[in-house]
């Protein structure tokens, strides 16, 4: 598919919307199984609990993931994106406050 190398990308496209995008067509696929980490499992389970408790829908999760800037989106792992979206959603809805979140993070001065 060498003829696609210089094909223009549509600037109106959102960065997560990557079906058929020319610049990724030569990207190899890592077909090896990867084990989930404890962090991955906890984020996944917390996401489900937020849905079950009516605190965040899957669509809100996706919207929050899509709002992560492109460079960060590609740098972060799958569940690293999730925890950022979940946190952003909880802050936006006022379920948690920014001040208390900062106070709970290590190295942050209250």
């Amino acid at each position: 598919m060498a003829e696609t190398a210089h094909e223009p990308d549509d600037p109106r496209r959102a960065h997560h919307d990557m079906g058929g995008v020319p610049r990724y067509l030569c990207e190899a696929i890592d077909t090896e199984p990867h084990r989930l980490t404890e962090f991955d499992r906890e984020v996944d389970a917390l996401r489900q609990m937020l849905a079950l408790k009516g605190l965040m829908t899957v669509d809100e999760l996706r919207r929050g993931i899509e709002e992560i800037p492109e460079a960060e989106y590609h740098r972060l792992t799958y569940y690293e994106r999730w925890i950022r979206s979940m946190t952003a959603n909880l802050l936006r809805k006022g379920v948690i406050g920014e001040a208390e979140l900062r106070a709970s993070l290590p190295g942050e001065t209250p």
Partner: protein
């Protein structure tokens, strides 16, 4: 009005994500493209609204077939099936 299997449709050539915050389940590569309704899958609350915690009206969801050769000359598989909501479908031009 429910679309019957075999109905020719066009995906709206609309780009809300370029104009402001939006959450869209219609892939960019289908905008403005012609397809054929395969079947109605059901009705679901519009995710474009759920994503913003707005009241979400039910929308019909269709499985629509596209010809990859029309999307990507020289590439693609032989057939492509994608779920598209009714409000993204219009009459073909």
């Amino acid at each position: 009005m429910t679309l019957a299997p075999g109905t020719a449709v066009r995906v709206r050539d609309s780009w809300p994500e370029a104009e402001g915050p939006a959450h869209i389940r219609t892939p960019h590569y289908l905008r403005g493209r012609n397809g054929t309704v395969m079947r109605l899958l059901g009705s679901f609350p519009n995710p474009e609204d759920i994503a913003f915690a707005r009241p979400a009206p039910l929308r019909e969801l269709y499985h629509v077939a596209f010809r990859p050769a029309e999307l990507w000359p020289g590439g693609g598989g032989d057939e492509l099936l994608v779920e598209i909501y009714e409000h993204w479908l219009e009459e073909p031009r």
